[in-house]
Symmetry: C2
Subunit: 210 residues, 2 copies
């Protein structure tokens, strides 16, 4: 007869998880507030070594938190990111918006000769000013956001740039890091990233502390 010895209490699982991460991860590069975000991102991916790729602009955590507290909407390229945001943590019942399945999006993609993930950003434009943008999947979405900002689009309050993968992910995040058009940002350098890390960053930003 197999017996299974494991912790069944959710709060205790979180506590031990975060303690393990803080014991093992090198968070010395980060401010206390950045470290809280980093801990949740590590928790989402299961790798303490991922922290070496995290990069926050100095004003990122404060800018994102202020925007959320003021009721800013969150725009994301990926439905998995939207689904991963813990609504009860958000400070102002903030909207979390993904327009990937908007019926208009395929038409925009054809018009602009880009992916649906990138084209959907055009639907964000009327409310983009002061919003929190979280790109957790598609490098094309991050590249196209940068193109629109270059061409004078309204500026979000903060950008989470964490697309994952093998084609354009590293390059799009590098481009954001080199010129964010003055907008506070967080990135994961290289190929790592994805919807879980992105949602974890949003959940960390939603309120101070862990």
């Amino acid at each position: 007869m197999n017996t299974y010895d494991y912790i069944r209490d959710g709060a205790e699982i979180y506590r031990q998880s975060f303690a393990t991460i803080r014991a093992e991860a090198d968070l010395s590069r980060f401010s206390a507030e950045e470290a809280d975000v980093a801990v949740r991102m590590i928790h989402a991916c299961g790798m303490v070594d991922a922290a070496q790729y995290f990069r926050f602009s100095p004003d990122f955590v404060q800018a994102a938190r202020a925007a959320l507290a003021a009721g800013a909407p969150i725009f994301t390229d990926a439905e998995m990111v939207a689904r991963g945001v813990t609504r009860s943590r958000l400070p102002a019942n903030n909207e979390v918006i993904c327009e990937l399945r908007n019926p208009e999006t395929p038409h925009l993609a054809a018009d602009y000769g880009n992916t649906r993930s990138a084209a959907a950003i055009h639907i964000w434009l009327p409310r983009l000013a002061g919003s929190v943008v979280a790109i957790g999947n598609a490098p094309t979405a991050l590249f196209h956001l940068l193109e629109l900002l270059r061409d004078g689009a309204p500026k979000p309050a903060a950008i989470i740039g964490m697309p994952v993968g093998f084609v354009g992910a590293a390059e799009s995040k590098q481009a954001l890091g080199e010129n964010s058009y003055g907008i506070p940002f967080a990135i994961v350098e290289g190929r790592l990233g994805g919807s879980a890390m992105t949602a974890a960053a949003l959940n960390a930003l939603a309120r101070p502390g862990i």
Copy 2:
């Protein structure tokens, strides 16, 4: 003026991504069918080195595909997994079911002294026989599934065991690998896993090829 040089065609991005993964990853341990699943899992996490932790029971891909083709429902512990399944790839318009937000689940969690993720499995039981189970977040869910199978619960056709993290993830997957009660399984050993990899495995199983 910044210019951004990137690939805007979704199909070409997939093609180059999968080609890069096959060129860089060591897939020699896997059958051709397992390698297709592994490639999509690597694609989801951005790490070719993750392949060393993938483990498939010999009958896994065939059993999972046969179940899906026969119309089996997919049960998952995580809404992000459910959201990540590409419905149009599924062979039989299969249901994708997550009961985490079922109003009954908090009561079951209190009754069984376990997390909501684990308790929600009790709602699966009437349809568990022959289903495809995908645990992509909570070690408690995988441990509790094993407890129920030990105690005679109906057997799924296949189990994807890929919870992520620092408390119980490695241990729960090890337990599944050591005794799956005769059920074909796929795991990611250690701390890695998560909703994106789990959804990617389901999307690979949904139809042959990439």
